[in-house]
Every structure is written in structure tokens, then in C-alpha cells.
């Protein structure tokens, strides 16, 4: 079964040459390697991501080039399918060429061999015996049978032949394996999205790229209900239902209607004691006009529901539009009371802010946020940070930042903070603002301190008092004192809107370089003094008397608050949104598939396994024993051929030969 170059008959037709080429082993090897190498591409580059992501990753030029090469969906590009198709054709040709001989092989014992050809075998032995051919033949027949061979014998005038073989099934192994490749590829073709791609390419269908409700998607982006093969997904919130799924294709999607409606009653995540998720389950109800009663079922990961040939899987989960009750604490201005905002995930709210009108777009809510934290003993533990929600804050020009706020205070070194993450684009990690809270988890002290910085009248009053105290007794320096008050006001002004960085920037622009360090140190001293004084006023307002001095917690609070205010510029939002309450609604992500090719593919799988084991583990062997007379004595010639496991066969051959020898004496 190997190519032997140079044994082809001389004149050959073009068709034959083509068949020869397509069925050649070297082509098979080349194609196997080619498919393997081409497959690598799609594993290195994540497939079927939103096109926007690729654009960001590669830049406009390479984005275009890679797109033309189809690298974002390699496994259904024409060139990949071409190689695969080539392999299938080549395998088919190979089957076509080999199977007839192999099937013939399985049936035939090749009794017609010539002595000469047996003598040319690599494995052969000869003996001379005094025994009668008849007796020998009978004994040999038993020997072959005991070794697991089936045989036929033929008697001619001058000789007898025993032709034996075992493991004929191994031939079927070849057929099974190779036919399986073809069958699997054909079956998979039914279930893949190639037919869809062709219809999109021909203009028959058009992918929808807009984010609109399924009911508004035009007919050119809808598939018929009886479409036999698809695999799509749909998100359904608890308490609602859907009768379509969405098939992701290229830059957009297609809508596939279902002949029934799926209602989601409940979605659950169960947790282990350690906090990691243990199961994801959805209680669903199928409303089908063909049924009298709705069908209730629970599906979970690894436990899909198959209904009327539609397989329904638990694929993912997300928020389903959780209701959010929020307190917005203004970060720029003198207000110390929050503004109440009601919202819902996936909805948006218009708000008036000191920075003009803005839109709050709520994008997600998560009840549990389990993250690894290093405990005091240095061991990493899983800790639940509690609920958080994510939103985008979009200004009038359309620019947006993304925020993620945690509902519960998070402790660092035993002190509570509100955490709020911010980022400019999804590609970045969140940077966190730490807002210090009083021990009871209240934000008000921070809020009052910050608001006080914006109250110019009070800042001025405090500045005057501080300066007056410092200049008390120094007559004639009122002008200097006034200057200090002004500079305090200026510094607080810069600080509250631009933070420490703003002051440093101011100095950099207005002071000669060699003086900058000195001036900054002086400014910081003045700023610290006034901020400290303002902080004392905040404490006083709370009824805490500063006379006894501050305890450590109160001092730390001051440092944290100053740092947080300094970071507000980078934080960007004119308010902090505190989550007060939520009405939790989840959505389950279902994947629904119809795959009629599956049975064909599974048939191929069965054939492939059977074929591989037959080929490898059923050794295919043939033996011939030629018996004739040579001047009154009996002459024996045994020859054998086997495919695969050549060494084993030689061992078996030797063993048989030894037994023959033991019976009839040493070889000729």
C-alpha cells in the first residue's frame, strides 16, 4: 500500500494522473500538515470577537489586511475550507482506489500463488521431510488453526498449497477510518455556518448590525422558523420570555424565530462554602402551541433540555435589568445632601450636574464579587466584596467614562472606604477611588469636608482666623496677612478642583525652575494648615471637640480624605453614586441549537474509533505453505507477509517455524 515510484504503466490518461495525484500518500501527508498549520492561526488570534476590538488591536491598516484574509473567522474562510475540501477529496479518492482491492483481499485466500513468488518473500523457510504430504498437510492445518489462522487448501497434480490468513477485519479498519473522515466532514458541513455565509454573500440575507429589538429586525435578517440547522443564543431576564435566538455572524447577527416561546422563571447560582460558584441553573417553561400544557424544566451546565430536536443549553448569565436606588453625592459644590436617582440596568437617566447635562447609562449589576485577597498571614483567600454596579457617564459631547461602584464599604487596614473604579475604555483596568468613611460606614463626614472646600465664604473666614492667630501680636503686617489669606483661598480653589497635581502644575507654569521645589513645599505647608483647620470645623460641626486633640482614626481620616479629594480630578465624575438599594433581576443566557448533521457526525465518530482499533490492533497476516515432492521426500516452503507490527509477525513466524521444525526435523 505504499507508493512505489516508477512502477506506473507507461501511457496514462490525464484522469488517471489526476487520480494518482489525489490519492497519493505524499499529498495526504502534505494536506494533513497543512490543515494542522492553518488551524493554529485561529487559536492564536481569538476568533469572532467584535470587529471594534480587532480594530483597536491592529490599527486600521492591519485590521483591513487581516479582515481580507478572513483571520477573524478562519475556520469558515474559503481558503481554509478549500484545504479541508481538498483533504476530503483526496481521502475519498484514496478510498476509491484502495477499497476494491482490500475487499477482494478480505475474501480471497490467494490460493493461486506460484512457488517462485513465495520464494521471493522476505519471510520464508524451507524443510525436507520423510513424511507423507497428506499427513503433513493435516498436521500443518491444525497448526495454522491453533495459531488463529483461517485457511483454504488446494491440491494440484504435483503440489499442495495451504493458504492462510488472519485479521482480515483489519482491512475494514482502513475503510472505516478513512470513510469516517469524509463522513464527519460532510456531517459537520450541515451544522456549520457555511450555508448561512453563502446566503449572506449572495445578498439573500443581510446581517443586522444595529442594537434594536428583535421585533424590529427586518425580514432580510430573519431566518425561516423551519431552518433545520442553527446555533444561536438569547438572553432572557427572569420573568420574561423569548421566541427567537440570535445567530452571531461576522459584524452582526441574524434572527432565528423558534416555533415555541421560552419563559424563564428563575435563574440561580449556587455557591460552595468557599464562595466559588457550584452551579448555574435556570427554571424554564416552554409554551408551545402544539402542547396543551406548558412544559416546565430546569436546565443547568452539562444538563441541557432537548425539546423537539431543539437543544437548549445553559450557556451564560447576566443581569436582567436590576432596579437601582442611588444617592448622588455632589463632589463639586456646597451641597451636603444627596440627590435620589432611580435607574435600571440597561436603561439610562438624564441628570443635571455642575458640568452640564449628562447621561447615566447603567450597564451591569453583580450581586457577588468574589476576589482573591491576601490575608494578614500572607495567604490568598477568596473574599466576597458584595454587590457592585457598573455605569457609563456620558457628557453632552458624547464622551463617556465607565464607573464601577461597590455598595458595601471595603476595609483596608481596618478602616472602611467606598470603592469606585473608573476607566476611559474597556481595554483599561479600573483605577479605584477610595472614599474614607466614618466607622459606621457613613460618607457624610467626607461629603461635608469636601463641600466645605467649595464654600468660599467659610473658607475665607477660616483662613482669616488662622492667619489672624498666626500674626497676632505682629503689628503692621496686616498686608502680609491679607496676602496669606488670599493665597490660602487660591490654593484651596486649585486643590478642590485639580488636586495636588493642579497646584504643582500651576507652580510649574508660573515659577522659575530653580524656585519650584521650594515654592511647592511652602504651598503644601500652607495648604495643609488650612485644610487641617477646615477639617477641625467639620469635626466641630459633628460635635467633636478638637481641644482634646484628634485620635488616630480621625487623623487618618483626614489624610485619606485629602488624598481622595486630590484624586477627584482624575476621577472625572461630578458626583459619587452610592447604591442604597436594589431590586435584583437576573437574566439567563441560553444557547439553542439544532444540529441535524450531528447524527451523521456521530456515525463518523463510531466508524473512526472502530476503524482505528481494527487497523492497529487486529494484525493482518498471511501465510502460505507449499508442499511438493522432491525425489521421494516431501518438500515444505512456508512464506508469510503481514502489514504493520512487522517485528511481532517475524516473532510469530519464527515460532511457527520452530514448531514445524520440532515436528519434522531441521530445515533443508
Amino acid at each position: 500500500m505504499t507508493d512505489t515510484p516508477g512502477t506506473r504503466p507507461a501511457p496514462v490518461s490525464r484522469g488517471r494522473i489526476l487520480l494518482e495525484f489525489l490519492g497519493s500518500m505524499n499529498l495526504a501527508i502534505t494536506l494533513l500538515v497543512a490543515v494542522a498549520v492553518a488551524s493554529v492561526i485561529g487559536t492564536v488570534l481569538q476568533q469572532n470577537q467584535p470587529y471594534q476590538d480587532y480594530l483597536i488591536k491592529f490599527g486600521p491598516f492591519w485590521f483591513e489586511v487581516f479582515g481580507k484574509l478572513g483571520l477573524y473567522d478562519v475556520y469558515s474562510t474559503a481558503w481554509f475550507l478549500f484545504i479541508l475540501g481538498f483533504l476530503v477529496v483526496s481521502t475519498s479518492v484514496c478510498i476509491y482506489r484502495n477499497v476494491p482491492t482490500m475487499l477482494h483481499d478480505m475474501r480471497s485466500y490467494r490460493l493461486g500463488v506460484q512457488r517462485k513468488s513465495l520464494q521471493a518473500f522476505h519471510l520464508k523457510r524451507e524443510w525436507i521431510s520423510e513424511r507423507e504430504p497428506q499427513a503433513l498437510e493435516e498436521w500443518l492445518a491444525r497448526l495454522l488453526k491453533s495459531a488463529g489462522y483461517r485457511f483454504r487448501s488446494r491440491r494440484d497434480d504435483d503440489h499442495r498449497v495451504l493458504a492462510a490468513r488472519r485479521g482480515a477485519w483489519s482491512r475494514l479498519g482502513y475503510l472505516f477510518t478513512h470513510a469516517a473522515i469524509v463522513i464527519i466532514c460532510i456531517g459537520a458541513l450541515f451544522d456549520g455556518n457555511i450555508p448561512l455565509k453563502l446566503r449572506v454573500a449572495s445578498g439573500d440575507l443581510k446581517v443586522e448590525t444595529r442594537d434594536i429589538p428583535a421585533s424590529e429586525v427586518p425580514a432580510v435578517s430573519r431566518l425561516p422558523v423551519d431552518n433545520p440547522s442553527f446555533r444561536g443564543s438569547v438572553r432572557i431576564a427572569e420573568g420574561s420570555s423569548a421566541n427567537v435566538v440570535f445567530l452571531q455572524l461576522g459584524e452582526g447577527y441574524l434572527v432565528q424565530p423558534l416555533p415555541f416561546r421560552i419563559e424563564v422563571k428563575d435563574f440561580r447560582i449556587e455557591h460552595y462554602a468557599t464562595g466559588q460558584p457550584r452551579s448555574f441553573e435556570s427554571d424554564i417553561v416552554i409554551h408551545d402551541p402544539q402542547r396543551d400544557q406548558p412544559l416546565e424544566a430546569t436546565i443547568s451546565v452539562n444538563h441541557p433540555l432537548v425539546y423537539r430536536g431543539y437543544a437548549i443549553y445553559q450557556a451564560s448569565f447576566s443581569d436582567g435589568g436590576t432596579g437601582l436606588t442611588l444617592d448622588a453625592w455632589l463632589l463639586r459644590g456646597t451641597s451636603t445632601e444627596p440627590m435620589r436617582i432611580q435607574g435600571r440596568v440597561f436603561e439610562s437617566v438624564e441628570v443635571q450636574t455642575p458640568d452640564g447635562p449628562m447621561t447615566l447609562e447603567f450597564t451591569d449589576f453583580r450581586l457577588f464579587n468574589i476576589n482573591p485577597v491576601k490575608g494578614p498571614d500572607g495567604r490568598v483567600e477568596q473574599k466576597n466584596f458584595g454587590p457592585n454596579f457598573t455605569f457609563k457617564l456620558r457628557d453632552a459631547t458624547g464622551q463617556a467614562r465607565e464607573y464601577q461602584n461597590y455598595m458595601l464599604p471595603v476595609e483596608f487596614d481596618g478602616r472602611p472606604y467606598f470603592l469606585s473604579g473608573v476607566r476611559e475604555s474597556p481595554a483599561e483596568p479600573f483605577r479605584y477611588l477610595h472614599i474614607p468613611l466614618t466607622a459606621d460606614g457613613d460618607i457624610r463626614r467626607f461629603q461635608r469636608f469636601n463641600a466645605l472646600l467649595w464654600d468660599d465664604r467659610r473658607v475665607e473666614a477660616v483662613a482669616r482666623r488662622t492667619t489672624a492667630a498666626a500674626f497676632a501680636g505682629r503689628e503692621g503686617q496686616a498686608a502680609v496677612g491679607e496676602e496669606v489669606v488670599q493665597s490660602m483661598m487660591r490654593l484651596v480653589g486649585h486643590f478642590r478642583s485639580d488636586g495636588f497635581d493642579g497646584i504643582a502644575e500651576q507652580v510649574r507654569l508660573t515659577v522659575p525652575e530653580d524656585k519650584q521645589a521650594e515654592v511647592i513645599t511652602a504651598y503644601m505647608k500652607v495648604l495643609q494648615a488650612i485644610l487641617g483647620e477646615l477639617y477641625l470645623h467639620v469635626l466641630e460641626d459633628e460635635g467633636i471637640s478638637p481641644d482634646k486633640g484628634l485620635d488616630e482614626a480621625e487623623e487618618r481620616f483626614f489624610d485619606d480624605a485629602v488624598n481622595a479629594i486630590s484624586a477627584l480630578k482624575a476621577y472625572g465624575s461630578p458626583f459619587y453614586l452610592q447604591l442604597k438599594d436594589y431590586d435584583f433581576v437576573q437574566a439567563t443566557g441560553l444557547q439553542i441549537a439544532r444540529a441535524p448533521g450531528k447524527n451523521v457526525v456521530y456515525l463518523g465518530f463510531g466508524l473512526l474509533i472502530a476503524g482505528v482499533f481494527l487497523m492497529f490492533y487486529v494484525p493482518y497476516r498471511r501465510l502460505w505453505i507449499w508442499i511438493d515432492r522432491d525425489g521421494g521426500r516431501t518438500r515444505l516452503l512456508m512464506a508469510g507477509s503481514g502489514s504493520r507490527h512487522q517485528q511481532d509477525f517475524e516473532t510469530e513466524f519464527d515460532r511457527l517455524a520452530e514448531r514445524i521444525e520440532a515436528q519434522i526435523g531441521p530445515r533443508a
Binding site: 493554529v40 497448526l143 491453533s146 460558584p277 451546565v301 452539562n302 441549537a593
Partner: protein, 393 residues
């Protein structure tokens, strides 16, 4: 391969199977069947139909394996003995016994057993090379004994770990083939057992050092992974892995990986031998390494074994994917790399059938195959993301 006197006198009619089996075979079969029955009596109520089927099939498979490869019987009985002993030491004390009980602490808690396994494999590697270079048959025997002991400790370690996972919590318990740490142990075990099989069959210990080199490398990774990353901690299963498919898919895969790794190392031996024969025919390597034909044969057998089991494993993976993700094939990176490995060895098998490509190219290809295999089983988890990293669920 000589024929014994008795062989020759034997009646030519093949003896029926039951006559060819010795008393130990029967005892063995009875012991496995009794063990399975006992397990079923204890836990049958908690098993679903698939699990009962898996129990029955794996018992039958184990009996067959023991009959076909005799040393497996003693090996399995030793592992069963060690595991049951360890489990009995846990007794009512539960997890705490791992630190308080002498035997568990120093020998048989899964952590200790796996440390023993690691040390024994490294010692065995050294011993095999010692035997190769000194030519000492005794050292060779020691090396084999060390390898058997390492495998016994490793398998016992996995068994005990299985039990330990249930001590953490009834819902946490699971078969220890669920993460990279556990499958590395499985890899060491299977590779060395497949090697021991060929060692017995071909009666040569010259390849032991080569094969155990890969195993020792895996041990190195394992130690780093457990000391550097704390990977030995038993973690509960993510929902995607809670399936009976895992129990059969993963071991089948690792028979494949183990066999491919072995073939690669035999390929190395082939290349060394061929080189030594050209450069220095009287030298140590040329004399001590087995004949090229034998090496070629072992390489082929290993790749055939690996290919067969890898085919099964990939198909099982596809069936599992169909159940868990809604499609039997998603071109997920892990899946795709399994296909790449498979295609690579399919190409190798075809190369062997064409005359021009046998010999050195085939050996080189087997060696390169190890890197492809390694990437599929390690690289994908480390560098690529996809469904197998269970990002979503």
C-alpha cells in the same frame, strides 16, 4: 524468543481461555469484581446510570489489563492496599489526620505520597542512566523497581486525594483529574506505566532513562507548581467540569499524551543510536542502545497507542462539548490544538508507510511531536484563552 519444551509438546488445538489463566488471574479477577461490588454497595445510591456503567466498564477493563499484562495485577493490589490503609488512617479524625497521623504525614497523605513519587521518579531516572552507562544489570533492576514504586506512590496519592476531596465537603469531592496539577501526576503515572509495559515486552531497560527524563521534567514542573503556586490545594469543581464525561475524557487524553511523550524520547534514542553507529560504532551508545529496528517498532507502537486513545479522547471531548456547550465542535483553542496534535500524528503514521520518509525524518518528527503535544496540553492553558479556561461559567 525461545520456545519452552512444554510449548512444543502442547496439543496444537488452542487451549480454551479459562485453561490458560493461572490461579492468580482468577484471584485477581475475583478481587477486582469484589472491589467493584463493594464500591457499588457503598456508593451505588449516589451514582447515576453513567457512573454505574463507568464503574462496570473500568472494572472489566482492569481485569483484562491485568490478564494481558501480568505485573498490573500486583501493582493494582499494592495501590489498593496502600490507598485503603491511608483511608483507614483518616478514620473519624477527617482532614486533621493528615498532619497528626504518622503514616499519613510521612507517607500516604496525598501530598506526601506525591512527594515520594516525585523523589522516586528522579532517582529512577538517575538509576536508569547509571545502568545504561555502567552496563550493570542490577542497577537496571533497581531502576525498574524505583519506577514501579514511584508509579504506585503516585497512583495511591491520587486515590487518597480523591478521598481527601470528599473530606473537605461532600459537594467538593471529585475525581482528581480536574486541574493542571492533578493531570500532571496522571501524566507522570501513565507515561511511566506505558514505558514499563514496553520494558517488559522488549526486555530492554536501555530506554528508561530517556523516557523518565520527560517524567522528571514533569515532576520538576509539578514541584514548582505546588510550592510556587500552591496548586496542590484541592479546589471545588467549576460547574462546567461537573460531568461524568470528565472521568473518561481526561484519562483517555493522558494515555495519548503519555504515549506520544514516550515515542518522542524513543525518537531521541533512535537519533542518538543512528549517530553513534555512524560516528563511533564501537562506542557505548552504539553498543548499549537497542537496535534501530526495535526502536522504530517501539516508537510506532507508542504512537499507534497514543493515536488510538487520542482519537477516543477527542471524540469524547466532542460529545461532552455537545452536552455542555451546545455544539460538538466550536474551534475552541484547546479543541483545535487536540486536532492539530491528532493531525500531526496522522501525518506521522502516513509517513511511516511511504518508503522515502522512514528513518531519521520519522524520528525527528516524533521528537517535534512532543513539542506540539506539550503546547496542546500546557501551552494552550497558559497562553491562549477560550472556553476551556471557563471564562464564562
Amino acid at each position: 524468543m525461545s520456545v519452552t519444551h512444554q510449548d512444543m509438546l502442547q496439543d496444537l488445538e488452542p487451549a480454551p481461555l479459562w485453561k490458560r489463566l493461572g490461579w492468580f488471574d482468577w484471584l485477581w479477577a475475583a478481587a477486582v469484581a469484589a472491589g467493584a461490588a463493594w464500591a457499588w454497595r457503598l456508593y451505588g445510591g449516589l451514582m447515576d446510570d453513567y457512573e454505574v456503567a463507568i464503574l462496570a466498564a473500568s472494572s472489566a477493563g482492569l481485569i483484562t489489563l491485568g490478564v494481558l499484562w501480568k505485573p498490573m495485577r500486583a501493582f493494582t493490589l499494592v495501590v489498593a492496599g496502600l490507598s485503603l490503609f491511608a483511608i483507614s488512617r483518616y478514620g473519624d479524625a477527617g482532614q486533621a489526620a493528615a498532619d497528626s497521623d504518622f503514616f499519613l504525614r510521612f507517607l500516604l497523605s496525598s501530598q506526601s505520597a506525591i512527594m515520594w513519587m516525585s523523589a522516586l521518579y528522579v532517582m529512577a531516572t538517575v538509576a536508569y542512566f547509571g545502568a545504561l552507562f555502567s552496563g550493570s544489570a542490577f542497577t537496571g533492576k533497581v531502576a525498574s523497581a524505583l519506577t514501579w514504586s514511584a508509579a504506585a506512590m503516585g497512583l495511591s496519592g491520587l486515590m487518597v486525594r480523591w478521598y481527601e476531596s470528599y473530606l473537605i465537603g461532600a459537594d467538593v469531592g471529585h475525581i482528581p483529574v480536574s486541574n493542571l496539577y492533578e493531570v500532571f501526576i496522571l501524566f507522570c503515572l501513565l507515561t511511566s506505566l506505558i514505558y514499563l509495559y514496553y520494558e517488559g515486552r522488549y526486555r530492554t531497560r536501555a530506554l528508561g532513562g530517556f523516557v523518565l527524563l520527560v517524567v522528571s521534567a514533569a515532576v520538576g514542573f509539578l514541584l514548582w507548581y505546588s510550592f510556587g503556586r500552591g496548586a496542590h490545594e484541592i479546589q471545588p469543581l467549576v460547574p462546567a467540569l461537573q460531568s461524568y464525561w470528565m472521568k473518561i475524557h481526561v484519562p483517555a487524553n493522558f494515555i495519548g499524551y503519555g504515549a506520544f511523550a514516550l515515542a518522542a524520547m524513543v525518537g531521541c534514542a533512535w537519533l542518538l543510536k543512528a549517530r553513534a553507529e555512524r560516528r563511533n560504532p564501537g562506542g557505548l551508545l552504539a553498543r548499549r542502545l537497542p537496535a534501530l529496528e526495535l526502536l522504530d517498532d517501539v516508537m510506532y507502537k507508542a504512537i499507534a497507542l497514543g493515536f488510538a486513545f487520542f482519537t477516543v479522547a477527542t471524540i469524547l471531548g466532542a460529545l461532552w462539548a455537545a452536552e455542555a456547550w451546545g455544539g460538538y465542535w466550536s474551534w475552541d483553542p484547546k479543541e483545535t490544538w487536540a486536532l492539530i496534535v491528532w493531525l500531526n500524528y496522522a501525518a506521522w503514521l502516513h509517513m511511516r508507510l511511504t518508503k522515502g520518509l522512514r528513518g531519521a525524518p520519522l524520528a525527528w518528527w516524533a521528537v517535534v511531536g512532543l513539542f506540539v503535544t506539550l503546547f496542546a496540553f500546557l501551552g494552550v492553558n497558559m497562553f491562549l484563552s477560550g472556553l476551556h479556561s471557563y471564562g464564562e461559567l
